[in-house]
């Protein structure tokens, strides 16, 4: 009875708080709105710039609304075969990476989630060491060289598809969300471990599969360091690395694959073209982001539970 009263007090306190609006509430809201603006306006500005006319941009008249609306820059980006191909290539690499990553992650997490597994401690140790200690860039580079993986697509995939962190998240999920009794009864009915995995565990693990697939996909999509030092071939460059080169090149002079396109017909300034390239790379992620964001939050929380 006393408890119930307490709860009522909380509720009434909550509703009272809404009706009373302090100056501090305003301050907090202003503070947060400003921070949100810093997350949105820069991208909005680049977007606006990318669809503005060249003259207006040169005259520094473009702020947060397009002037002399023109999609010429995008026409050029899409006409540039190397940009479009690189985008397609990045999508393919990300897809293969994500699928293989999930397979490997399950192969590691499912056996290790079983308390009864003999040698579990040993296998866990073997699979966790790489999280805390890596050999570093140069030994890895020489290893990739020895494995004949340099300058191939696979160097962007194979070394990273096993992720100790993702494995921990999945293992934690299996242990905490799938009732042991369910598996035990299937076991007694004569199901094999693999049958239990495919028929019981995986169908019950859809949320974590979604989350981890996204971890894998976004991680691969955004990374370009390995692309930078493992791959010299132009045709194997990920879109992120192309963007990096484009903007870095532009700091000195516009000298990229798109440079001659922009330079030949002096109608689009490199700046507008650059903005279009930035958007070309940014828009895909911004479009899917609102839909997948909640899975990330969930994953981050599961990952925080100590393994």
């Amino acid at each position: 009875m006393a408890k119930k009263k307490n709860m009522e007090e909380v509720a009434s306190d909550g509703s009272r708080a809404i009706s009373k609006f302090h100056i501090s509430d305003v301050l907090i809201i202003v503070f947060i709105v400003i921070l949100c603006a810093t997350c949105v306006l820069p991208f909005w500005h680049v977007l606006v710039k990318s669809i503005s006319g060249n003259g207006a941009v040169m005259a520094k008249e473009v702020f947060f609304w397009p002037k002399d609306l023109s999609f010429e820059a995008y026409t050029k980006v899409f006409a540039d075969a190397s940009m479009v191909r690189s985008m397609g290539y990045s999508v393919i690499v990300t897809l293969i990476f994500t699928i293989l990553g999930m397979v490997v992650c399950t192969c590691a997490a499912y056996p290790l989630s079983k308390k009864r597994l003999k040698g579990k401690g040993f296998f866990t140790f073997v699979l966790m060491v790489p999280m805390y200690f890596t050999a570093g860039m140069i030994p890895s580079y020489l290893l990739m060289n020895d494995l004949n993986l340099l300058d191939t697509m696979w160097v962007l995939i194979l070394p990273l598809i096993y992720s100790p962190y993702n494995m921990l998240v999945m293992k934690t999920y299996f242990q905490s969300s799938i009732p042991d009794s369910l598996e035990e009864s299937a076991f007694l009915d004569g199901a094999t471990n693999l049958q239990i995995l495919f028929k019981i565990v995986l169908p019950l693990s859809k949320p974590i599969i979604a989350t981890l697939s996204l971890f894998y996909a976004v991680g691969r999509w955004n990374a370009y360091g390995d692309n930078m030092y493992y791959i010299k071939k132009d045709s194997l460059r990920l879109i992120q690395y192309k963007l990096y080169l484009l903007v870095q090149g532009a700091e000195a002079s516009i000298a990229t694959s798109l440079g001659d396109v922009g330079g030949a017909s002096n109608t689009t300034t490199p700046e507008v073209l650059q903005a279009a390239c930035i958007m070309f790379v940014t828009i895909p992620i911004v479009i899917i982001y609102p839909f997948v964001q909640k899975y990330f939050v969930k994953g981050a929380m599961v990952g925080a539970v100590k393994g």
Partner: protein, 317 residues
């Protein structure tokens, strides 16, 4: 049936021999082979390469033909002005990152927690998490669009307002660069960093707040005396994890903000390893620096964990 079940449970719980374990769980071991093979091929196989740090490694001669030099390489790198500069920059920038970057998510989480309109809270959170999902290539290129001295948006606006007559070299003069680089780092992580704190805040016992209200605490006092102590464990854990990174450096982030005017500060350990070690073929030196970096990282984590435990916190390990 009931008997069978209990018998099976007992069998599972008693110590099984390898023969029985393999018979029962061979499929599980088969699955494990895949990740184990991958870590052996791609992680463990790289560890022997670490001996380069104790050799005068010449790629043409290979490991067998190169001579062992003990700790000479380490002596050499500590005499190398480039390394000392990279080390100094790494430590200074990482400490500054920690100093300005670590409190921000805590402050932001406390503020978000005070928001009363749930819809508004949800939308702002979604927006604030966004920078975490963009690559450093995107962030770097947007930053240049915003901060170029003559054509960057921020400078154009400030000039139009008459606040400045000449563009501020936010990213092209080293001290300005340092501040911009650090603030962008804070900005990138501030929203995402709140997640664990917000989760910790929701698990604080509501009765504590009620007691505080009865005692006449105002909003800020509640924050200071109830919320902050309530998330202290999370703060300590994350602090330990971050301390381990004081020696690390993010190559992609540094490269995204690279330009010739700021190399004095931008030259950090990851850049040293990439450019001098890999680019100039100084494999032994690059390996030694990498080894130094990861060992210091491991030691720092262990040390801060010890300290946290000595202070009565839960620690990480």
């Amino acid at each position: 049936m009931a008997n069978e079940k209990s018998a099976a449970t007992v069998k599972v719980r008693t110590k099984t021999t390898w023969k029985n374990a393999l018979k029962r769980d061979w499929q599980l071991y088969l699955l494990l082979l895949v990740p184990v093979a991958l870590v052996v091929i791609f992680s463990y196989a790289a560890y022997p390469g670490l001996r380069m740090a104790f050799m005068n490694y010449k790629p043409a001669k290979g490991y067998a033909g190169s001579e062992w030099v003990g700790f000479d390489i380490f002596v050499k790198i500590f005499k190398d002005a480039d390394f000392v500069r990279a080390l100094k920059n790494s430590i200074v920038f990482n400490l500054l990152d920690l100093l300005v970057g670590f409190p921000m998510p805590i402050i932001l989480a406390l503020m978000l927690n005070e928001l009363k309109f749930l819809k508004f809270k949800k939308v702002t959170q979604t927006i604030l998490y966004l920078p975490h999902f963009l690559s450093w290539a995107i962030i770097g290129s947007v930053a240049y669009t915003m901060f170029r001295p003559s054509s960057g948006l921020v400078n154009i606006i400030m000039m139009d307002m008459g606040w400045i007559t000449e563009g501020i070299p936010f990213l092209t003069e080293k001290y300005h660069w340092a501040i911009t680089y650090l603030l962008i780092g804070v900005w990138q992580n501030m929203g995402w960093g709140t997640i664990l704190y917000l989760a910790a805040i929701t698990s604080i016992n509501g009765e504590l707040y009620e007691a505080a209200i009865i005692d006449g605490a105002n909003r800020w006092q509640k924050m200071w005396h109830v919320t902050l102590p309530g998330i202290r464990g999370t703060i300590v854990t994350l602090l330990i994890m971050n301390l381990g990174r004081v020696m690390g450096s993010n190559l992609e982030r540094l490269m995204a903000f690279d330009n010739t005017q700021v190399r004095d500060f931008q030259y950090q350990l990851a850049i040293y390893i990439y450019q001098k070690g890999l680019g100039n073929g100084k494999f032994s030196q690059g390996t030694a620096v990498g080894l130094f970096q990861s060992l210091v990282g491991v030691v720092l984590v262990l040390l801060s964990d010890k300290i946290a435990k000595a202070l009565g916190e839960e620690g990480l390990l």
